[in-house]
Symmetry: C2
Subunit: 219 residues, 2 copies
């Protein structure tokens, strides 16, 4: 390691004192920079909160309109390249009438995804939620326990004989929903929050263009 220049003989203590004084000056300058950084972060958070509030009524209005379209959400999910549903999950999600993504007030701390179901043969729950608390020193996620109707537990139906061409990369929608092992790298949750929720229409419309999906089946 190179040594400070002039660090020999009689100048030693004068040099040290000059360096010490400069270090104190840098530190106090750095404190002013840090205070500005903190003010910048607070101001940006206020902007984000303001726009979250301004966006909210449009997201609510969008959800009202979406409920007029049969199978909107299941179609958007099926068409998303990172989401894989098996046949019974797809049947179940035809009853998903409303999706909501809510960022927590301080935004960086986490978010919550609500899945609202109409009356259906699979779930007793009207709403199931998965929420992520990522601002904690020990980040965690949690999910609403699912009340399956008799014999309809879809997490026990994976790999059944119904025959499906698609690979199950995500290991099942409800298995994903109920798994809270690794909240910081939940790719499906991030797809829903950052990809589908900001603009679900583009994924819904993908299907209408046809192409990759298998032939339509009559239910």
């Amino acid at each position: 390691m190179a040594k400070p220049s002039g660090s020999n003989g009689d100048d030693q203590s004068a040099t040290d004192m000059e360096t010490q004084k400069a270090l104190v000056d840098i530190d106090s300058c750095q404190n002013e920079i840090d205070a500005l950084n903190e003010k910048a972060s607070e101001e940006i958070l206020l902007v984000e909160q303001k726009y979250n509030k301004l966006r909210k009524p449009f997201f609510e209005k969008r959800n009202e309109i979406i409920m007029r379209i049969p199978n909107f959400w299941v179609t958007a999910f099926v068409n998303h390249p990172q989401i894989q549903l098996d046949e019974s999950e797809e049947d179940c999600l035809t009853h998903l009438k409303k999706l909501e993504v809510e960022e927590f007030e301080d935004i960086k701390s986490g978010y919550k995804i609500n899945f609202h179901f109409e009356e259906n043969p699979f779930l007793k729950n009207e709403v199931i939620s998965k929420e992520f608390h990522l601002g904690l020193s020990d980040p965690l996620s949690s999910s609403t326990p699912i009340n399956w109707k008799e014999g309809q537990d879809l997490t026990k139906k994976n790999g059944n004989a119904k025959g499906r061409k698609r690979p199950h990369e995500m290991g099942g929608f409800f298995s994903w929903f109920l798994n809270n092992d690794d909240p910081c790298s939940d790719e499906i949750a991030e797809v829903i929050k950052d990809d589908i929720w900001p603009n679900p229409l583009q994924y819904y419309l993908m299907e209408l263009d046809g192409g990759e999906d298998e032939d339509a089946e009559e239910d």
Copy 2:
């Protein structure tokens, strides 16, 4: 794929028209959300620009103070765990008197790192800069060509016999500086911009705590 309910018989065209109308309504709602997103981004950019301006005089003042401390920047660089310098590079960087990181006005588009040298046995340049233009469809970086003094080209001295215990993970400081093959994943540039520049004092002071570095050498 499940089909929209009611999509048979006489209701077909009424259902289609209702869906088409709903899709148009979602699209117009989405346009209002997109416009809000854009306004939010613009407002956040203004906040970032405002604080960049407010921070600038403190960064300049900090640089003035730093010049009172011999070997400040080389020490901060040597102490940073992701930066490896060989002995001749370290000698050369003892003449680095000023470092500057400038974000471009629109911030996301890129940044420039300036290295100011005092008169030294290695480089003829007083300032060498490396700049990153990352907002382009084809991102690029560029570096000032280095005018080496006779026989002092440090990019040709790697692996010489001077003997150095440290591994050369970064493949040489000046090789890094001159390499513009992969501007989007330049880890050393990011270390300088996001780690050293925001708070160089913490890396300078690491050395004073001693420990990991090899024994001090007299120049």
